[in-house]
Point group: none
Amino acid sequence: MTPVILIVEDEADLVELLRYNLEREGYEILATPSGEEALLIVEERHVDLMLLDWMLPHMSGIEVCRQLRRKPGSRALPVIMLTARGEQADRVRGLDTGADDYVTKPFAPEELIARIHAVMRRARPALSEERLTYSDIEMNLTEHKVARNNRPVVLGPTEFRLLRHFMEHPGRVFSRDQLIDSVWGHGIFIDSRTVDVHIRRLRKALNGKDEQDVIRTVRSAGYALDAEAAIA
Amino acid sequence: MTPVILIVEDEADLVELLRYNLEREGYEILATPSGEEALLIVEERHVDLMLLDWMLPHMSGIEVCRQLRRKPGSRALPVIMLTARGEQADRVRGLDTGADDYVTKPFAPEELIARIHAVMRRARPALSEERLTYSDIEMNLTEHKVARNNRPVVLGPTEFRLLRHFMEHPGRVFSRDQLIDSVWGHGIFIDSRTVDVHIRRLRKALNGKDEQDVIRTVRSAGYALDAEAAIA
DNA sequence: ACCTTATGTGACAGTTATGTGACGATGGCC
DNA sequence: GGCCATCGTCACATAACTGTCACATAAGGT
């Protein structure tokens, strides 16, 4: 799956420049000018790296970073800060807050791309250590393995991404359209009933003989990962 | 459910222009030329965003905004101000008063729509607020779960929307027609007695063995959510 | 008390949403 | 090319929810 980078920056020109260069590098780009919205996107979508402007309209980059690190479920999402020249003095504060690197504006796109590669390479082993766990389900992302109750579970690629998305946002209800956006990719055009079929395949693989269904169907709304789904 | 936008504007032409464009975008439109009435509508209907003209016949847009923010129960309803050119100087005051954005007239419909999208996305966490609480009832909107006294409550989609509407306006009495407008959608035409049936279903699901009825029947007027319903 | 009107309640039949099995298409791999 | 796994879509089965009715009950008015 192509890595997803979230750009949090309020200068539209810069965003477009970055989008162009990074998409050429094979990344998928999300962008928003608002820190609040950034935190929201991280909740709902899979994001591999965040490019975070220091100065933002309402909420500063530092604040975004702090709140991001405070979230419990969020694994250590790599963050690269974008700072203007005069703000260099605050570099330490930025790194303190949990950013993985910083780049001072103006910068050459090549430099940024190099740092992105570096951070993502560095972050991957850290990421890999982190297995995703919810209830009795365990995902090992690096080895691409899933187990329930220590019993191995085999999933197709799409089911794997689907489960991963649920595990990254346990309990949350996603509409079929949201799932298509997040699991298949933004702008992909797929019949929403296809989601049902993959949900079924995921359920089939995940639910053993006498195990609870961990996927809750919310009629007219979507699906959610929920260990107590059976509270009927 | 389609998002609802309330337009508060006294130029009829502009209202119709906006209505046309926004309905095409899939929004449901309410409109009123009066600030007083706007505050009333917000009390009684579910509204996702308010487009507020700066200059209004009796009560100015600022005043509307101020009063809106002062209301206790009202979650932070996103507000976009519409200002004429010469009023730009007051921009700061507008944002101070609590508006989330402002647009100067004349404007291109596309620009307004872009800002509406931005504001609504930004406001979502404030709007959905994760959870609604009233008395011993708790609704988790993101997880689509309802509980009373920590006991899970299962509701059908319509009962869920109905309860949500009550929880967003606790204590307030709604006529059957108002409920149909807000919960089913404007322009939907169904028998008003149908509301009674759904109220019954909601009561049945909500009222456990020895729990109080939380829905108060107001004879010849409608229903209200009211924890002390039985003290009648 | 009596009549009138409004609301509570259980049942039912139509409608809509979801579950499920099967199928052909696609693309990697040998 | 043939094999295999996976994918997206369809058609049909099943389940859940919906709106309405008929009748029971309760509340107001006189």
